[in-house]
Amino acid sequence: MAEIIKKAVAGTLESSDVYVEAEPAEKLEISIDSAVEAQFGDAIRNSVREVAAALGVDGARLRVKDRGALDCVIRARVETALRRGMEA
């Protein structure tokens, strides 16, 4: 399993992007701030979980501030935030 050892961020608050904060936690905790949370909140959570699982991360607090990002952009920013959080 991969461990998040420090707080890390990725992305921006610009339109079509997403800002992701990752920090150490015992289990996976996901919070989402998005204008389309009612419609796409579950889909965003699923994408975040899948990226974390693919990287072997089962403990992290992830705050996702979405500004209308496509799924591939969300996945990219989550991956980058988690990878940065793993680096010593």
């Binding site: 990725a10 992305g11 610009e14 339109s15 079509s16 992007d17 990002a69 496509l70 799924d71 591939c72 952009v73 996945r75 990219a76 920013r77 991956e79 980058t80 990878r83 940065r84």
Partner: protein, 291 residues
Amino acid sequence: MKRSMLFIPGNTPGLLINGACLGADMLIFDLEDAVSPDEKDSARVLVRNILKDLDFSGIGTIVRVNSVDSAYFEKDLEAIVPCSPDMIMLPKTGCEADVLRVDARIGALEEKLGMEKNSVRLMLLIETAIGVENAFKSASASERVCAIFLGAEDLSADLRCKRSKEGREIEYARARLVCAGRAAGVDVYDTPFTDVNDDEGIRRDAEAAKALGFTGKAAISPRHVDAINEVFSPSEKDIEYAYEVMEAIALARQQGRGAIALRGKMIDAPIVARAQQTIAAAEELGLGREI
């Protein structure tokens, strides 16, 4: 046709996802100069995901990776090669050895990933004095190379001269690259015009490049794409003349005549070759007709 190629900074989702709507024949997803060192990792993952998930059919995709001697090069290749972009752009190509080194590295990745050999193509960015002088050898070094591209900003710094709108300082490099590229049998692309607000300037610059024999031209702004596409497309007059040439040739053959004149000028092999190139371009743009 591959007339225009538009640079898109690799860490800007808004531009990356809308790139296909900007009218360019090819898009260059830039991981090099347009991305700050602390965002290289982020841009690499973003461009990889965009290439995997979005549909760019009908548009050429090129990824400018970081240079061979940078700390990012290996990671760029590992992320981008599996996405099979149409081309990988290799910055600061100086000589044959640079191309062979990258060729071997990509070849190893293709084998590891079960990809077809030589399926990943290369566009060489020539932007140093040594790169200009070695352009033919570099372009001929590997079957992967399908285009070379003049980068005049870095080149003028290397030449220790100022970059100007008129471009006199890069006349030699332009002519040399066209000759090198054509001799090697690859496409040749001209440097971008950097004043995004000068609509007349971009047209003049593109016309100068077209007159020298360039295949097309790069753009750093969507505002320049239409002018480039227009300049590098055959005009109605060119197309009509090309068909007249081919019809005259067909008639001469029917009549068993070896030589023929059109509009008072003998039609020889180079004129026929140019007519064939014009008709091929017209057909690609849907402007062809039966002979």
